[in-house]
Amino acid sequence: MSGSDINVGPLPEQNLAAFLLTVGGVTVAFIAVFVFTIGDAVGNIFIWTALGVGLITVFVGMTLDLLGFFDNERAVLRDRTESSGPVDAIEFAADPTVSPLLDFEAELQTIADAYGESPPSQLTTFVEEYRRIRDKGVGSRADAAGDLRASLNPLSVIVEGEEALEDAVAQIEQKLQLYVSSAPYELFEIEEVGLYVDGSRTAVQDVAGQQARIKLEVHNAGDTAKAEIRLRFRSTEGVVVRREFLPMGEIAADATKQLDTQVYVPSVAARMQVESVRPSDDTPVLDL
């Protein structure tokens, strides 16, 4: 996707003021220790050394600030209160591990287009959080998505009355809700399930008591995760007569993987049921 990100600057996790305050505090603590414990000519050397190191640190800190190492709090504040220019494109990194449920590019673009040159601070704040998710690992992404949902509330307030924008926010909310409330294995969609004998699809009862191939497709709507399918054959009374687990290994986000493997269909089987279950670590992946 082409275009530029909205310029809201990096998040204020570190800043020069905190750095200098810490350096000052540590220097004073060192000097106090030297004054009270040594206190003679050697102590003076130590005190001057501590001051010298503190001074060097201050200069290095200022150089780091010039190089943009520290996040610039002022820039963030300015962008929140003043216009940061039109939002050409809200770009999400093409990270293959990120769930399509966390892709709000189209919705955000709709909202950004409506505000044109002067996007409201509620939008820029949300975009900041949205960009932050791409830096998160799969494990901590759910927490970040929870925070993102909190940032959506102010945005939903300002779009009230604008039907198209309300729809866009509602869609984002829906996707986020599904993502946050679902375990990774719950976001696997199983499609095209069928039993095959000699290449042709057949009903369960027709292959009862025989070997058959089961074919299915699993689409991952969540982040990259391991998939495992539970296959259950039931009798006419609904009793489970055979249960089999089919580990499929890792499936990338928004990818589809096919399963094609041999299974034994019990003689009393009348129907079969497949569902995605929480994958176990110790099961070897089937050769697909």
Binding site: F34, T37, I38, A50, T57, V60, T63, L64, L67, G68
Partner: protein, 54 residues
């Protein structure tokens, strides 16, 4: 080697002039300064690297 030499000479001098306690404090102080300056240099290196990459 140079660093160890400098530490040894510094410790000996401190031992001579201020006694064991001063020498121990001086060594700890020296190590702390060394680690801190190393950390500062690595931060500078990272910042310059980021700037070049940008």
């Amino acid at each position: 080697m140079l660093l160890f030499g400098a530490f040894a000479v510094g410790a000996a001098l401190l031992l001579e002039t201020g006694g064991t306690q001063t020498a121990v404090v001086g060594l700890a102080f020296g190590i702390t300064i060394g680690l801190w300056l190393g950390h500062l240099l690595s931060m500078l290196d990272r910042a310059v690297g980021d700037q070049v990459a940008a």
